[in-house]
């Protein structure tokens, strides 16, 4: 299976170890990745989608047209990129007037958008297209005996009409089952489905309340589970949940939170035998306890 890899901004710029994990693990489970030269910002919801329809959908159209030229669907890890590209595809597909307008804007650049490729989240590809059996078959190491919790990226759940791939967006299972396939035990907890709180203005505009919002989630994990790690499949969730623990520790003047956060593909790559120094090096909260297990 060939898919165009849409990397977005944060992964290649700030957490390239996640990119490395994706590039290493996907071909191992039968998904070959094609780069998209000249791709641009998805566009992020706080940018063109907050200024005007024309720039929002022409940026979407630009990115979609790159994949259309190559004739392959897009795979995305970043939740925001996934959701923005899906929204772009949905509107451009359903609204002929909008599509015509965007194609007028694209025309002088020699491109056009026909909405003939689809956009997939990487956890959907792993869960539905690769499948749990194949992953179980391919891994050479496992996480037996380790406990973790999962963080479902909101952008892969809501609105399910546009972005959904789970049977129920209220009770998603993909990330849990994918993690269990690596041998780990996924502990349930009361705030499992709460948003990380990271994407968008809330944390900047209302920092004290945003910190408390995430703190409640972290406290629930500590109180209700035996988790030694957290796993997500979205660069925003990953960065935010790592950073907020350091921020809360600094505020408290002691180390209260020390739950290392991984992208699912990082754990998958480690179970496929990848070098931890290549696929899981960048983190605020130390990952050593988990990584030692793979050395």
């Amino acid at each position: 299976m060939d898919l165009c890899l849409f990397l977005g901004c944060n992964t290649p710029a700030i957490r390239p170890d996640v990119e490395s994990a994706i590039r290493m693990s996907m071909p191992e489970v039968g998904v070959d990745l094609i780069d998209l030269p000249g791709y641009v910002c998805c566009p992020a919801f706080g940018s063109f989608p907050s200024t005007d329809v024309e720039s929002q959908y022409s940026a979407s159209g630009w990115n979609l047209s790159l994949a259309e030229q190559r004739g392959h669907d897009i795979v995305v890890q970043c939740g925001s990129c996934y959701s923005s590209l899906r929204m772009g595809l949905e509107h451009l597909h359903e609204d002929e007037k909008l599509r015509t307008k965007v194609n007028e804007l694209l025309e002088p650049t020699g491109r056009q958008v026909e909405c003939k490729v689809n956009v997939h989240h990487i956890s959907k590809i792993l869960y539905q297209d690769v499948g749990l059996e194949k992953i179980a078959e391919k891994i050479t190491k496992n996480m037996k005996g380790m406990h973790g919790v999962v963080q479902y990226p909101c952008h892969t759940l809501f609105p399910s009409e546009v972005v959904g791939f789970e049977e129920s967006s209220r009770k998603p299972v993909a990330l849990r089952q994918l993690t269990e396939t690596l041998g780990a035990t996924v502990d349930p907890y009361s705030l499992e489905y709460q948003c990380c709180g990271g994407a968008g203005g809330f944390s900047n505009m209302s920092p004290a309340e945003a910190d408390a919002f995430s703190q409640r989630k972290l406290d629930a994990i500590i109180k209700e589970t035996k988790a030694e790690f957290m796993v997500t499949s979205c660069i925003t969730c990953l960065m935010y949940l790592d950073n907020i623990q350091m921020k809360l520790n600094k505020k408290a003047g002691k180390e209260i939170y020390n739950l290392p956060v991984f992208d699912y593909n990082q754990l998958l790559a480690l179970c496929l035998g990848a070098d931890p120094d290549k696929v899981a090096t960048i983190s605020g909260i130390s990952r050593e306890k988990i990584i030692d297990h793979f050395r």
């Binding site: 390239p16 910002c41 005007d52 720039s55 002088p108």
Partner: protein, 169 residues
């Protein structure tokens, strides 16, 4: 807040969010349940925004910066029983505000215009090399493509209206 209904703009909804379903909103507050930013101080109260549009409170809405607290999780959109699509509504309010008041225009669009991305993608070459990663085919590596992208964006309303923000290096 005392509202002067005489002075309210009855057709404001058409200008901001031309979606008939908006009028089906019965203020149930489902959009607030599970909204991270509803915990903020001040809070983001999505249903109040819907009400403000319906009532045509133009001036109040132009001063309201809570739409920018939204984390874009879209849970409100999933849960809204009347299909108002509140996240789309929030983006529509932001668009209307950006169009009518330049101070709302996010600076990230200048970054994207200049280099294609909100972050400095592709400049961390040493780190990437140490991880065994290939050089990224970013748009800045193809000046002709970047120029085409910029020419396309220059024809869109908010950028062309504020073109001075996008000139220079």
């Amino acid at each position: 807040m005392e509202i002067e209904f005489e002075e309210s703009k009855k057709n404001l909804w058409k200008e901001i969010y031309n979606n008939e379903n908006l009028h089906h909103c019965f203020n149930c507050g489902t959009c607030l349940t599970g909204c991270p930013a509803s915990n903020g101080d001040p809070p983001l109260l999505v249903r109040n925004l819907a009400r403000m549009i319906i009532l045509g409170l133009e001036e109040e809405l132009l001063e309201e910066d809570s739409p920018w607290y939204c984390v874009s999780c879209s849970k409100c959109e999933e849960m809204c029983p009347m299909d108002v699509k509140p996240f789309e509504m929030i983006l529509a309010i932001r668009k209307w505000q950006s169009y009518n008041d330049v101070t709302y225009v996010p600076t990230s669009i200048v970054e994207i215009y200049k280099r294609g991305y909100t972050q400095a993608v592709g400049v961390n070459t040493k780190l990437r090399e140490s991880l065994g990663l290939p050089e990224l085919p970013t748009i800045t590596k193809n000046p002709e493509m970047l120029a085409q992208f910029q020419e396309m964006l220059m024809k869109t309303p908010v950028i062309s209206d504020n073109d001075y923000m996008f000139k220079g290096k």
